[in-house]
Symmetry: D2
Subunit: 228 residues, 4 copies
């Protein structure tokens, strides 16, 4: 049995992964603003510094096998024709960067000593295809945060390798969360086949299964039918 | 004669570029915390939201030919053996991301309508070799911000192209600023040959000289003798 | 039971993967110059056009679930201080590019109609960390071929998606093949911990297990202790 | 006055650059199959090994300031809906890789000692946007060769730095050569604004003007209006 902190565990990818880990008899510390349906809920808004602090406080000095940062936010109207950079308020830019980029850095820093106690600790960060070179989407804050996350992961691998902690970024296309399926159904997103959640779970299981001698650092997972 | 906003104009790369542009008879709005020795000084701490706001206020609705974001900060002890991720205070992470990543996004957004009035407007962002894939340095916040800047530039190109504004990131190794030369002289940095400032100026002159039909989006400039 | 063509199946990564697939009761068509110890041996030197042709001839119109291109060659003295670009004969450059880059393109082309008959066909290409941006090694032909392979994979994904075929490149550091372990033991390579073969096999199993709706396109697998 | 070998000098980008260099009073050794209208013509088909050999023979031990590899070929029907990977004959794949990738490696190797005699020698390689990560076009051989060229450039920088030779790849979108303008005029290519040749020349002038202490390694030059 391993112990994982799963951030964004109330729904979407984080919710599905948390449920999968609980079904595998792992111990899940489920971080989210709204109640998480499984594991031990840690209520926190990780877009706020006191939210991150409360997560660190709740985890305490408990050894951890993994930090899975699976949350993420984006601009209003993102990935639709309604997004316009010039109309995005400054507060939105700040919030997207705080949640998607600053929070995982702060959590990795605050939990590094917990992770260092595990025999084979992993940090898993949910990136995006739009965080990769020449694959940006027009959403400036979200794209900047997802590129930034790639950099954070590389730097974390350099900084935390001596503690036996490796970091992987998983970069999927659109995943079949309830929200994405709704967006496709109501025409907000163009018709497409999102990535089945089972494939995302396989990806994370794979990343967690690799031995301590190797570090999967990046996995890109495209949609076969992205619908454009 | 063109009009440029140069951020970080009091010293370093920004100072040298501002001086060069003034010598070429351009009009320079020189943004910095401490007095800028040339151009029209706009006093602002762009790591603070009210600092960015005061820049926008000072520029007003004046047409701009370019926004040159040439400032940047990094962690205490960065690029030396003294840097340790776990010892970097959270305030430092927040400040590095605010100055290096959030500020250029906010300035680009706030000045886009000024730039759209020029016949061939350019945004020039000072990146870094450590913002490129597989070239990260261990400094987590700085690396994350520099990767993020690449993403911001790609997204800005997508979002601002209809307004006739293109964005380029210049990614140099260590540049021969007074600070870097001092760091080499006193052994803080290993012995090396930093990039001559004249080469950085040539790079920016090149980027500004390209016609409206083309957009140099990325220029990498390595040190021939990086000293390691 | 699935049917796989495994190229480079006589030893190293190809040999280990072929054995694993046979143990999982899959049908393996084992391509190599020297006899392959398992599966159905197809004798071929894929660095020669008639070698590729003989593979295509042997496979015939048999449906295939996967093409696993796991072979590769490099310059004499590669990855040691003995390699010098100016001393590498032209024939070596030609041969490295023929085996590492031209052969997988030709095999993908020649076997595409076989793969299109499978419900979820995958092409797996063995890349290298040194095929990624800013991670080149000085071996010019090998690095060029490994970068080229990334490009081939991207283009294959664009060209073969309508046929239901997806392509993934696996980019590992040094893998614990018999040759690499010998090179470490005798000091040809610096002391290091190579990637366990079991982790490479897990990576390929993962890539093959993803559903048809998703395509893992790139997996990077670093050594935790690369020895430098 | 400097001495440059310009490959592909009979027309297109190579022809325009050769003419520009001659106008600047430089000495140009113009390599092409058909007669080059300026400089000293070296007749050679660099897609053949004896073609490369004849270039090396003609240059002899003459010191060189630069090797500008500005030629390139692609598949029949490339960049139009007529291209189909499965219909591209093997000979075409071989030829595209030979001209676009193998030839520049062989020329760089064969001319390195000539370049090492110059005070500040540069190799300039004509890449392509489609040689960059996540920017592939479906043309498999061309994309593979252009990615490969990026890798060759990185490895050349590692291998030839001790000789004082640096290598830069210029990655443009469609350039306004006579062929491209014809393709747009007759509808083979969609309506678009190609990159003015003057901007490509500025890019090469910039790359050649940087001091020996710095090495521009990569310049990306997008079309502002790519027409899709």
């Amino acid at each position: 049995m391993s112990v994982f902190v799963v951030v964004g565990a109330s729904r979407g990818i984080g919710g599905a992964v948390a449920q999968h880990l609980v079904e595998q008899d792992h111990d899940v510390l489920a971080v989210s603003r709204t109640p998480a349906p499984m594991g031990t809920w840690i209520q926190a808004d990780i877009g706020r510094m006191d939210g991150v602090a409360s997560v660190l406080n709740e985890v305490g000095d408990r050894p951890l096998d993994g930090l899975l940062f699976l949350g993420g936010i984006w601009e209003t109207g993102a990935f639709t024709p309604h997004y316009r950079f010039l109309d995005s308020p400054i507060e939105e830019t700040l919030q997207v960067i705080a949640v998607n980029l600053t929070a995982p850095i702060q959590l990795a820093q605050g939990l590094a000593r917990n992770l260092a106690q595990a025999p084979n600790a992993r940090i898993v960060l949910m990136g995006s295809m739009s965080g990769l070179p020449n694959a940006a989407s027009p959403e400036v804050a979200n794209t900047a945060s997802k590129f930034g996350l790639q950099g954070a992961a590389e730097a974390l691998n350099l900084s935390l390798a001596p503690m036996g902690i490796s970091t992987v970024v998983v970069n999927p296309g659109n995943v079949a969360t309830a929200e994405v399926e709704q967006d496709i159904a109501d025409g907000t997103f163009p018709d497409q086949v999102p990535i089945p959640m089972a494939d995302v779970i396989k990806t994370i299981d794979y990343a967690l299964s690799v031995s301590r001698a190797a570090a999967p650092t990046s996995v890109s997972l495209q949609q076969t039918n992205p619908g454009h």
